[in-house]
Amino acid sequence: MQATIIEAINDALHEEMATDDRTLVFGQDVAESGGVFRATEGLQETFGGDRVLDTPLSEIAIVGAAIGLATYGYRPVAEIQFSGFLPPAFDQLVTNASRIRWRTRGELTAPMTVRTPYGAGVRALEHHSESLEAVYSHIPGLKVAVPSTPHDAKGMLISAIRDPDPVLFMEPKHVYRSFREEVPDGTYTEPLGEAAVRREGEDVTVIAWGAMMHKTREAVDNLDGIDVELIDLRSISPLDRETVVRSVKKTGRCVVVHEAPKSGGFAGELIATINDEALMFLEAPVERVTGFDVPVPLLAMEDFYIPQPPRIEEAITETVNY
């Protein structure tokens, strides 16, 4: 079928709910109303109120209950309505979700998924536009996935739900509906922990993920005469170091694009990885095209904040001409 990202996610949830009756979906406004972005539309009708449930406005309890269910044998898929509202539950991720397997030496495990739309560009209110993947990537035991296409959104979400360990599934809400592509019917998985090379090239490696993949692709398409290798990172943690390193060894140049503020952003880990394993192949500094070290502006100014294609183009050109 042809599907947008949001449709693909909805489809993945339907598939997994049908496949494994220990899969549960809950969160704010996910059941009765089908989710503020309609990601969970139709689930309650199909699978009933026991398995698809609206929760109170309690992010701690949403994530905490997911842990309690998962360690008891269920496969919870919790939604946090916007990733800007995940910080209240940060402690549950750090203190319990990511380490219950560790703490109990494998006796209890937390096969749970926390889905949350992230990123700027939808003209929403404050706290609706954050991208804190770098923060979550630093929690050992927590996987962090960010799909950028409908195909991956479905396949990776199914992988996340089936994963034996907790996965934070960050959804690029800016491109939830911006395009359709062919998405296989039925069940399939896309692996977590593997980047995808979207375009092979010789001149420069460009790495992005989530919504930034699309800004980056636009930039790449605008660049004549530069043979870009474009990597969709897809997994922030675990990081597919191999694909990144292999590519940079080939091209000798690299640009990383992300929405989050520059300082402390995930580009740092990528650059450190390149430094570790491909430093001597670098012909130019790795460029970062990122959000600025400020909160995401309110809607009137947010476009200034988001890395736009011309910025990305400049960085690529500069890197190639370095």
Binding site: D54, A300, F304, P310
Partner: protein
């Protein structure tokens, strides 16, 4: 030691420990104006006639502002908007009970509260247009809007604590929704306020919904007010569609708070509009429910009272509405005239002194914007609606 000494409680052993439950406590709903038009004269607040009328005018203003803003949003000239329709008595009644010294912590729907307390209508519109500059809350003694639900509650406690230390004649006043009462921040903030005897008023507009979730599914507690008992503070449950009752309730709460008993007020009301302009309430509630509440319209109820008291004659409702419409038009015009923002604005006001790295980010960006004017093809300085 017996290896497995436990009796199997699965075979029920009769146990009789007494429990305490919400049935053990009566929570009355305070009201002055009955829906049938009668009222409790004993309870009438001691206001002069003009103030009685002002209360009405401000409720109309809230109603008109909400309508106009919603329309503006539909025309793509405002961002997402959250209307207070149905909650006018709660919004205006509470605002009237506060002094200029009180610090307000808004949660979004209370246009009238902010306007009464000094914010200009232009700035309020600019806020909903997503302009940082408007959150300055110029003219009002107000914190920024708590978009992250419940996140302001412990902050309110801190400010109230400061007021107590200063022996100030003021309170910190939180506006919040029923949804916020499910958050950990609510709990920790109010519990701590109770310990501190902080002059804080936690004013909960229980409009029966947190987006699509009805109050009954947010908590098994019958009321918000009874949550006060868990904190050893006072609770007041008030008819949130009765502006005079709300006024008295918040005055009472305010006095209590200044005397060292923080108070949790629950104004029982109803959100008649969609959650925001992005929401479609038909997905989760019946139109008939809304209609039931429309019959309890706070403006009508108060108008009846004014009429029965002979206070309404001096109000030319038509003229009032026209005046407000004009204010709104002027505000939109002023907002439209508000200069395009310079990119510097998003770099400023995060630190007292901009750190070197941020300065560099700014100057590099300014250069880029110069060199690549096509950047502006990607930058729209307006709501998309």
């Amino acid at each position: 030691m017996n290896e497995d000494p436990r009796p199997a409680p699965a075979r029920p052993i009769s146990a009789d420990a007494e429990t305490v439950s919400q049935d053990d406590v009566d929570v009355d709903t305070y009201r002055i104006l009955e829906p049938d038009g009668s009222y409790d004269a004993e309870r009438l607040p001691d206001l002069d006639d003009e103030t009685f009328r002002e209360l009405y005018r401000w409720m109309v203003l809230q109603r008109v502002f909400d309508n106009r803003a919603t329309k503006l949003q539909r025309r793509g000239k405002l961002g997402t908007y959250a209307s207070g329709r149905g909650q006018e008595a709660s919004i205006i009644g509470s605002a009237f009970a506060l002094s200029d010294q009180d610090r307000i912590f808004p949660y979004g729907r209370e246009a009238g509260t902010l306007l009464i307390h000094g914010l200009s209508m232009r700035d309020l519109l600019l806020y909903w247009r997503g302009l940082e500059d408007a959150s300055r809350m110029d003219g009002a003694n107000s914190f920024g809007v708590a978009i992250s639900i419940g996140s302001h509650v412990p902050v309110v406690t801190g400010t109230a604590w400061g007021m107590k230390l200063d022996d100030a004649d003021s309170v910190a006043f939180a506006n919040l929704g029923d949804g916020a009462t499910s958050t950990g921040a609510f709990h920790e903030g109010i519990n701590f306020a109770g310990v501190l005897d902080a002059p804080a008023v936690f004013f909960t507009q229980n409009n029966q919904y947190a987006i699509s979730l009805p109050f009954e599914e947010q908590t098994a507690a019958d009321t918000v007010a009874q949550k006060a008992l868990g904190y050893g503070i006072d609770g007041i449950r008030v008819d949130g569609n009765d502006v005079l009752a709300v006024y008295n309730a918040v005055l009472t709460a305010r006095e209590n708070a200044m005397d060292g008993t923080p108070t949790l007020v629950e104004a029982v009301t109803y959100r008649r509009a969609a959650h925001t302009t992005s929401d479609d309430p038909s997905r989760y509630r019946e139109r008939s429910e809304v209609e039931e509440w429309e019959k309890q319209d706070p403006l009508e109820r108060y108008r009846e009272f004014l009429q029965s008291e002979g206070l309404f004659e001096a109000i030319d409702e038509e003229a009032v509405r026209e005046e407000i419409d004009e204010m709104f038009d002027d505000a939109v015009a002023a907002a439209d005239e508000f200069a395009e923002r310079d990119v510097r604005e998003i770099f400023e006001h995060l630190h007292e002194e901009m750190p070197p790295e941020l300065r560099r980010q700014l100057s590099e960006y300014e250069e880029l914007l110069d060199e690549r004017p096509d950047m502006y093809e990607h930058i729209e300085q307006r709501p998309k609606g």
